[in-house]
Symmetry: C2
Subunit: 293 residues, 2 copies
Amino acid sequence: MEKFKQVAIVGGTHGNEFTGAYLIKKFENFPELVKRPSFETRVILANPQAFQANRRYLHKDLNRCFSLEDLNNSLGSSHEQDRARFINKVLGPKGNPQVDFIMDLHSTTANMGLSIVLLDDNPFNIKLASYLTSIQTTVKIYSWIEPEKESCFLNSICDKGFGIEVGPIPQGILQASLFQKTEELIHTILDYLDKYNQGEISQVNHSVSIYQHLKVVDYPKNENGEIEGMIHPQLQGRDYEELKPGDPMFITFDGKTIYYEEESSVYPVFINEAAYYEKGIAMCFTKKKQVSG
Amino acid sequence: MEKFKQVAIVGGTHGNEFTGAYLIKKFENFPELVKRPSFETRVILANPQAFQANRRYLHKDLNRCFSLEDLNNSLGSSHEQDRARFINKVLGPKGNPQVDFIMDLHSTTANMGLSIVLLDDNPFNIKLASYLTSIQTTVKIYSWIEPEKESCFLNSICDKGFGIEVGPIPQGILQASLFQKTEELIHTILDYLDKYNQGEISQVNHSVSIYQHLKVVDYPKNENGEIEGMIHPQLQGRDYEELKPGDPMFITFDGKTIYYEEESSVYPVFINEAAYYEKGIAMCFTKKKQVSG
């Protein structure tokens, strides 16, 4: 059994997602909080300049800059491409990293509670995520793994680890209750990794629900590409709930309801996420599946 | 009795407050919605460039650019100062405006529901605001009038009119239910102005609660000016509720509670407003008073 020697907690990958950024600042001020006997913990504020500017990013979404091509190409650099290469240098290199586990802290305006965002289906990740849902039953697992596609998220540096989303929370603010819940989850993860190193993790598997990414879904738009509707009030806030054929999805500005018309039910997530308006994305569809983890 | 001939609806004064900005776009597309028989209605997207960039402002808060000194000074211009002078040209000039009434649409991450923000205590404004609270009892009236201080808000162009805040809603998104409630309020106001012009408004006064601005309150900060605490979970979302001496206000990152320690109760508003983090402002204190309107 290989042990965890280096664990990284990353926040502020998106500069206006304050929960993660301020947790990192807290851990920088009180490093003993994230210390565990059996491994070293490193904390990184991923995009301090974007945090300072209170923006998701300055030039390019940092959490889309971790493809091998981008990391290995030093030409045509943006601020975030430079920053991705720096992070890849201190935590990576991608595929053969110095750290053994990365948790990357995000927040969302969608009603996603505490969500584990799987970007690699390494069995350890699924087992740990499954454990977290057993400890805290409101935790959900969203698998954003797209087959045949290289992940360009920060987490892709290391096969073990995942993103953590917390919401609903506006960009650019802190909410104490969600801050505390996120911090508790981090402590639970660090304790688990420490117990794993001590050989104290049970090998029994449990069945767990995973919400598997299917596709992104756009807002209704006019011929100029401008959105012409909103999430329907009956769908707003209902992340991880079943959307059945015939259920309302959008209401247009002139009051028409647009219904979900595909053949089988889906489970939307990232419903009304602020950061996705610039791409015109209204939500992501997932399917719910049971796996053993 | 002087009649209203020109009424202005302004939105997107802050570019990332989508409710107002998209209502303006809707009214531009469906102008018949805001037409009334007895006056002309003009709609203005106040800061299209900031809306395009999904930012509160590009260089300077537009809603702080309407002092007479700024409007009359063409030197040292920022984008928003130019834009303020343009708006002052088409709706103003401040103090002797072409329009007789301005409503300026804003949104907030604070739990302020639908709030009328009085910037001028013209008796007509108080009577109309009082009427709105009688129609829709959840509407609150916040008087942000600071004695002996010139208002530099957009609304200061015209003595009749007020700001409208809606929340809680994150910056950069739309929520259909709040969009619809704001639109209904606008229609109620337009109908009232039309009835006033027809002489159909009763002269009877009612007693109404007004929350009078007292002061802004900062977050706890360290010696570098960085915030070191959050709104206490027991205060979060409790805008317009009584804060009594001894009640918790903040929780610091290291877990200490900071209590409200002044002598008499206050009624906080703009609790945890995202836009105020850059100034380190946590909330505004008001006192509740009864007036006849």
